[in-house]
């Protein structure tokens, strides 16, 4: 009896629960050349690509999850399955009590989706017309629509572009409109498939801030895929990494860093000193008369320890400590799993 109750609570609490998801695609393949093309016309050769292999994870309400992996790892496939547009070969997927592909029409009312490489805005008509169409499609009451539109216009700074046709907008402007379009119906979950692709620094920051705001204030659960590690660092407290269709890492970003960051770089500027100083547990990377760079092995000794030893010997002007960029950690992880 006790266990039954516990299970029910567990299922309500978990917003997204995915278990053993697998999907195989049949891909036509042939080598280049005319002869090969003719041959494949009569007997086409197919090979199977395992886009997803036994993928399982669960996500709580209010989380922001970064879903990362190299190109072709299966990120978009997972998003497509979760948004109900792709039927997997096997496995279970339960989101808010729905099976996405089976209860598609009922289910999709609760989610917003942005595919960074596609557009949901009508190309030749003003943005606001596309918004109103979405209002009618999702049957959003007029009051809610007004309220949401005002909020979105304000936070995404859309007031000047909302009456312009989509084709005349820059990529950054359009992406802001795409985000707004996916949120008009108050979705509980937002799937973002590469929302910052091709954007400049300012637009990226605007998009990131907006995602943060919407997550905090409206308690929208966000799942985003990206190749930009800055997106992950500023947004996601949890990452799920996928490679060759399998989950390689699922957990906290900081823990990942702890596991893979072995060195920190310490750069010091000082008043002139004639000879380089050798330290235990810190390799000297470069040296000049007024600047030295060390790679501190943080397993052996702390950064502060190194700095205090140096300050005893030198007249330090400035200190900079850099940890390994997240990109390099990811590359290490990819290498470890050979993807």
């Amino acid at each position: 009896m006790y266990f039954a109750t516990k299970n029910i609570i567990l299922e309500v609490y978990l917003l997204i629960k995915i278990e053993g998801l697998s999907k195989t695609f049949k891909v036509a393949r042939r080598s280049s050349g005319l002869g090969e093309a003719v041959r494949s016309f009569f007997s086409p050769k197919y090979s199977e690509v395992n886009a997803l292999r036994d993928v399982s994870f669960s996500i709580d309400e209010g989380e922001i999850v970064g879903y990362i992996g190299p190109n072709g790892a299966g990120k978009s496939t997972t998003i497509k399955v979760m948004s109900g547009i792709l039927v997997p070969d096997s496995g279970d997927c339960n989101i808010m009590g729905y099976v996405p592909w089976r209860d598609r029409v009922q289910y999709v009312k609760n989610i917003g989706v942005v595919f960074g490489q596609r557009s949901q805005l009508w190309w030749d008509v003003p943005i606001v017309d596309s918004f109103e169409l979405l209002r009618d499609i999702y049957r959003v009451p007029e009051d809610n629509y007004r309220k949401n539109l005002n909020m979105l216009t304000e936070t995404l700074n859309l007031s000047e572009i909302i009456n312009t046709p989509a084709r005349q907008l820059s990529l950054g402007q359009r992406m802001r409109c795409e985000l707004a379009a996916s949120l008009i119906h108050d979705p509980k979950i937002l799937f973002l498939d590469e929302p910052t692709i091709g954007l400049d620094a300012i637009s990226k920051i605007a998009v990131r801030n907006f995602i943060k705001t919407i997550n905090k204030e409206n308690n929208v659960t966000v799942i985003l895929t990206t190749h930009d590690m800055n997106d992950i660092e500023t947004l996601a407290n949890r990452i799920i990494m996928i490679g060759k269709g399998q989950i390689l890492y699922d957990g906290n970003l900081n823990k990942l860093r702890d596991k893979f960051v072995t060195h920190k770089t310490v750069t010091i500027d000082y008043n002139e000193n004639a000879s380089p100083i050798e330290l235990n547990g810190a390799a000297l990377l470069s040296w000049s008369k007024d600047r030295a760079t060390y790679a501190v092995d943080i397993k052996q000794r702390g950064v502060s320890d190194v700095i205090s030893e140096l300050s005893a010997k030198l007249e330090i002007i400035d200190v900079a400590v850099d940890s390994e960029p997240i990109e390099e950690i990811i590359i290490k992880l990819y290498k470890e799993h050979q993807v």
Partner: protein, 267 residues
């Protein structure tokens, strides 16, 4: 219904933007119209007996055909839908709480309606003032006109439920050009676009009357010109309704089947 009406409205607004294309279309339709009538005039002169359709009725038939080309022509393709399948942007449509069939249907009606609204008026008005035998004549009586309007609108639904099958086939062929080429060559001939059906040999007519294509073009236009009497027109309307039910049922069934195994193209 609201979502479908909304997409219909927006698609009409969208379609009404392409005015220059419509103007060019009107000019083309005039040239084709005159050309067809001249050809038939020459044939009729060289032929001594009576034809199943008079030259005046034929001129009316041809002008209506040109004026409502956008309404009923089978090869007319809504590129947004076909591109959404081949490029994968159908992903967004699948994320909406609507049936895809109804969504596309609404879009297709709107597409044809907006195109026709821009094109038909100038053709109809000018054709009314042309000298005989080129003139577009009025229908014989108000009832005929009413029957014409009903058959025309039902004809539109027939065309769209037929072309839905062509769009659905793109999921398999991945080539809108191929799907529509086959579809339009067959459909165009059997709907009476190329040659009015009364001018076809009897054995061919028998085949044509069994197929749904003629319900789109041949039926409404011949009803208008009085070539099809009232009784036959009413039978025609019933046939249209039956075909519409069958075609929509088949289309919906196939689309549901396709969407189960759909592969959204592109990453």
């Amino acid at each position: 219904m609201k979502p479908y009406i909304a997409v219909f409205k927006l698609r009409v607004i969208n379609g009404l933007q392409y005015r220059i294309a419509a103007l060019a279309g009107v000019a083309t339709q005039f040239v084709w119209g005159f050309m067809y009538i001249m050809i038939f005039e020459a044939f009729y002169r060289g032929f001594s007996g009576t034809q199943a359709i008079s030259l005046e009725q034929l001129a009316t038939y041809i002008w209506l055909q040109q004026a409502f080309l956008y309404f009923l022509y089978l090869w007319l393709k809504e590129t947004e839908i076909s591109e959404s399948i081949t490029s994968g942007s159908i992903a967004y449509e699948l994320c909406r709480p609507c049936g895809i069939y109804g969504f596309w249907f609404a879009k297709l009606i709107a597409h044809r309606l907006s195109g026709t609204l821009l094109r038909c008026a100038p053709i109809l008005v000018i054709a009314f003032f042309l000298p005989i035998p080129y003139r577009l004549s009025l229908p014989p009586d108000p009832l005929t006109f009413l029957l014409f309007v009903v058959t025309l609108l039902l004809g539109l639904i027939v065309v769209i439920s037929l072309s839905m099958l062509a769009y659905i086939s793109i999921f398999v062929t991945m080539s809108p050009i191929g799907s529509f080429l086959v579809f339009s060559v067959v459909g165009e001939f059997f709907s009476g676009f190329v040659l009015p059906i009364p001018l076809m040999p009897i054995w061919l007519q028998n085949i044509v009357y069994l197929l749904p294509f003629r319900l789109s073009v041949d039926l409404p236009f011949r009803v208008y010109s009085g070539n099809i009497p009232t009784n036959d027109a009413i039978i025609g309307i019933l046939t249209q309704i039956i075909w519409i039910i069958v075609l929509i049922a088949v289309g919906k069934f196939l689309l549901t089947k396709m969407l189960k195994r759909v592969v959204v193209q592109g990453g």
